[in-house]
């Protein structure tokens, strides 16, 4: 039985934000508004992270996804201004729609169904320990933790950044020659 305390109410608020925002993204004809709905959805996810005792992840979610990536999205949308008022109906995407429905069905059956099955395993909290930011930092740089994936990701991102600079620079020089 669900107990109606304040964290439950907060959970429902954030769940509505997440799902409502996601619905707004796919149903909106205006791409800019779609981006804003995406931010609402991402904000809801950040709220869910707080409820899961992961405040660091929540703050990073707001900072990186809403503060940086979504802002980039709005820039991209605005540079293609004709896309902000879409009149075309995309009706030939049935294979993709079918794929999305199948994926969702798999998620429902695989993840959500067992929780309702009265399985004792799912009634237990996964861990009582609330991890602090210090633990996260140690895990990222300690030899037993995630130092190798961390470094690999850093190199990947540096490579991507250098690649972007190289591409941007070549275009500039060609324009100047013309």
């Amino acid at each position: 039985m669900i107990q109606f305390d304040f964290s439950t109410i907060a959970f429902f608020v954030f769940a509505v934000l997440t799902l409502g925002g996601a619905l707004g993204v796919v149903t909106n004809r205006n791409l800019f508004r779609g981006t804003i709905w995406l931010m609402v959805s991402l904000f809801g996810v950040a709220g869910l992270y707080v409820l899961l005792s992961a405040p660091f992840l929540a703050a990073v979610q707001v900072l990186v996804y809403i503060g940086a990536i979504a802002i980039l999205f709005t820039f991209a949308v605005m540079l293609t201004r004709s896309l902000t008022r879409l009149n075309v109906r995309y009706t030939r995407l049935w294979p993709s729609a079918l794929g999305a429905v199948l994926l969702f069905a798999m998620l429902v059956i695989g993840v959500i169904w067992p929780v309702f099955g009265g399985n004792e395993l799912y009634n237990q909290p996964i861990s009582d320990v609330v991890r602090t930011t210090t633990d996260l930092g140690v895990a990222l740089v300690s030899g037993e933790g995630y130092v190798l994936p961390f470094e690999v990701a850093s190199i990947l991102l540096t490579g991507a950044m250098i690649g972007a600079i190289v591409i941007a620079r070549d275009a500039d020089e060609e324009e100047m020659e013309q």
Binding site: R33, F56, I66, I71, T74, T133
Partner: protein
């Protein structure tokens, strides 16, 4: 969650414990929100008075004693004005943007420790929370610029977002320094770590970098590209009128003072002052100290001309960002070395614990860090001076050539 203070009283009075807890939290939230909103009313008066004095004027002096009630008169005027929404604007987003703009600043106050005992929320990630919430302000400006459906508004928004996103980088790197010294991102821990020595003496360069980038974040002169009247008419808020326009401005005024408070917490020791830790007096110290950066900010705003967008961007990417990165690296290295020597106070687990040390114990560490900061500054100042001399010489040469050409 524990139930103390007002919550305890309410529970003993027969209220349902859950409700009592909810009420006490609600009251706290209301107080935290009210303090900045009331502050901003008087901040507008203070700002106008200081600006007037710098420009050799009197400033508001008609409504109330010393013109104190001028802001209320302005407020009533703004509320009574016609509230126009342009016909082709995106109604929902157009109306949401001013709210989001003010909320982004007001939310920062949730983690501000007012006194040793009064803090909205002592988050474990306070500093990160500040950065995350402040980034919402960028979003508000973007939405306002787009939803107005006006070319000038959109151009203004582009410029502002470019400015804000760029200056967030040195801001975060400067913020990293107090976080690193305190060993915690919680605002309360950062203040406690400064009980013996304020961080402004250990890392003056970080303090200055934070101040410059926060000045840019508020969009004040010399970074006031937000409202370049000569080029963009008014910038992103051109279509706004009445109280919606007022909310953008309230957000800006409040943001300047909020930055003063943040600098106080991060670098000037928050409510710490030798021998004065009573709640009310501590609150007063926080306010008084916050006025130092606030006043300097107003001083710069009213005396320095506006920079061009390319100058602002160049200043950030070629000067502030590299400097802030070098600053963090050198500080981290020096703290590590000092720890090995044993000049840094540590707790039982071997972690840095500045909160437990007094003024005298922190003195050697502070001196080393201060000297390192000065040493970083010397070549930079030299280089800047050389660049200035070269540019002046080039301009002088150009002028002579032109004079000679005109003479022929």
């Amino acid at each position: 969650m524990d139930c103390t203070g007002l919550c305890e009283v309410l529970t003993q009075g027969g209220t349902d414990p859950g409700l009592a807890q909810f009420l006490s939290i609600l009251l706290g939230v209301l107080l935290v929100v009210t303090v900045p909103l009331i502050t901003v009313i008087f901040l507008i008066w203070i700002e106008r008075k200081i600006a007037a004095r710098i420009q050799d004027r009197l400033g508001p002096n008609r409504v109330g004693p010393f013109g104190l009630l001028q802001t209320f008169a302005d407020l009533i005027k703004l509320l009574a004005k016609e509230d126009i929404t342009p016909a082709s604007a995106d109604r929902l987003l157009y109306n949401a943007a001013p709210l989001l703009s003010l909320a982004a600043v007001a939310l920062i106050w949730a983690v501000v420790p007012y006194t040793p005992y009064h803090v909205g929320a002592d988050l474990d990630i306070g500093a990160l929370y500040f950065v995350a919430v402040a980034s919402l302000g960028t979003l508000a400006i973007m939405i306002a610029g787009w939803a107005s459906n006006n070319k000038y508004a959109l151009l203004g928004a582009f410029r502002v977002v470019a400015l804000l996103v760029s200056y967030e980088i040195p801001l975060v790197f400067a913020l990293l320094v107090p976080v690193m010294l305190a060993g915690s991102m919680s605002m309360v821990d950062i203040i406690h770590a400064q009980s013996g020595m304020w961080f402004i003496f250990m890392a003056p360069l970080a303090g200055v970098l934070f101040f410059i980038s926060s000045q840019a974040e508020t969009g004040r002169a010399p970074f006031d590209l937000i409202e370049a009247e000569s080029e963009l008419v008014a910038g992103f808020n051109i279509e706004y009128s009445g109280m919606k326009f007022g909310m953008f401005f309230a957000a800006e005024f409040l943001h300047v003072f909020t930055n003063g408070v943040l600098i106080t917490i991060l670098f000037l020791g928050g409510w710490y002052f030798p021998g004065w830790q009573m709640p009310l007096i501590a609150f007063m110290w926080l306010g008084l100290k916050a006025f130092i950066p606030y006043f300097i900010s107003l001083w710069i705003r009213n005396t320095v001309p506006r920079l061009r967008i390319d100058q602002v961007m160049k200043f950030n990417w070629f000067f502030l960002v590299p400097l802030s990165i070098v600053n963090v690296l050198i500080l981290a290295f020096l703290v590590m070395v000092l720890k090995e020597i044993g000049w840094v106070p540590v707790d039982e687990t071997g972690a840095m614990a500045l909160a437990q040390a007094g003024f005298i114990e922190l003195l050697p560490m502070t001196i080393v860090l201060f000297i390192s900061n000065v040493l970083i500054c010397v070549p930079i100042v030299n280089r800047l001076r050389r660049m200035g001399v070269e540019q002046r010489a080039a301009r002088e040469q150009l002028r002579t050539q032109r004079a000679m050409a005109a003479g022929d």
